[in-house]
């Protein structure tokens, strides 16, 4: 099963990368841009008998490795198929 994981800097945590990108976009003339945050996007294939089984595994992967719960939030989507 194909899984997509989205990891973003936690609310309230400094996101210097997001700030730098926002600043750069503005100076390129994209004035109407705000709230830029930069995170990670992880795509993977997981062998599982059901989407629920895949979800459970991915949740553990996120907690253990893919995200740092102290400074990052994550969510993921399981694409059946």
């Amino acid at each position: 099963m194909r899984v997509k994981v989205f990891v973003t800097p936690r609310k309230g945590i400094l996101d210097p990368q997001g700030r730098a990108v926002e600043h750069a976009l503005k100076s390129l003339g994209f004035d109407g841009v705000s709230g830029v945050h930069v995170g990670r996007y992880i795509v993977l294939d997981v062998e599982a008998r059901s989407p629920d089984e895949a979800s459970a595994a991915v949740r553990r992967m996120c907690d253990q490795l893919l995200a740092n719960p102290l400074i990052e939030d994550y969510r993921f989507e399981v694409e059946p198929g």
Binding site: A20, V21, A24, S27
Partner: protein
């Protein structure tokens, strides 16, 4: 001749490059500021190493839009000599003044080490003072120096002699282990098709004094001085 060394926000080796050029090589070199467009009458513009804009997003991606880069693109189009070292190389690639891109080292970690380079083409303004096959000991220090370019493009580059420097073992032979960052075909430095723009990951400005571990970096500066004459 006159040198210009650009300072972007987050440039680090700008001062070292100026020091190498002025104090060690006795050259006339001026600092250039990213917000300016003037190139201070430089015959060769150096984009130094560092972490411009914190290397956020992609190395060199944001610096590429600095006002001074417009002048540098024009200067290069007019045949002016431009050299990008490390972060400067990354900026030149992002600005499409050089082919290819630089991505994270194979090991995913930063590497600071003296490496051996082999001069693959000595018929360029940047290597004129060297013999082909000459070996240099010059330090690298980067986290994202793995050179990539599409296969066909890289093949053409090799044929035209645009691959100027390669990582090799200390005996001059190509080896997987000596290619510390995992660059495609062990590429360490490339030029554009006109051979007036040059980018390299190793730091020649950190190899100009015996007390600091070697002088092979001078060969590049000497070549440029010779070319500008």
């Amino acid at each position: 001749m006159k040198w210009g060394v650009v300072t972007f926000p987050g440039s680090l080796d700008d001062r070292d490059t100026l020091y190498a050029l002025r104090d060690v090589m006795g050259q006339d070199a001026v600092p250039l500021w990213h917000k300016d467009e003037a190139l201070g009458g430089a015959d060769c513009v150096v984009l130094p190493g560092g972490f411009s804009y914190g290397d956020y997003l992609r190395c060199g991606a944001i610096a590429r839009f600095s006002p001074i880069m417009k002048s540098i693109a024009r200067f290069a189009a007019d045949g002016g000599l431009v050299m990008g070292i490390c972060n400067g190389f990354q900026i030149l690639c992002e600005a499409h003044l050089l082919p290819g891109a630089l991505t994270r080292n194979r090991s995913l970690s930063f590497i600071c080490e003296r490496v051996t380079l082999r001069v693959e083409n000595s018929n360029t303004p940047f290597t004129r003072a060297a013999r082909a096959g000459e070996l240099w000991r010059i330090p690298i220090k980067h986290g994202e120096g793995l050179y990539v370019a599409p296969d066909d493009e890289l093949r053409n580059m090799e044929e035209r002699g645009q691959v100027i420097l390669r990582y090799v073992a200390s005996d001059g032979r190509e080896s997987e282990a000596a290619n510390l960052n995992g660059s495609t075909r062990a590429v360490a430095g490339v030029a554009n098709e006109r051979f007036n723009v040059f980018g390299l990951m190793p730091h020649p400005e950190h190899a100009v004094e015996p007390m600091l571990g070697g002088v092979d970096g001078r060969r590049i500066f000497e070549s440029i001085i010779e070319s500008a004459r």
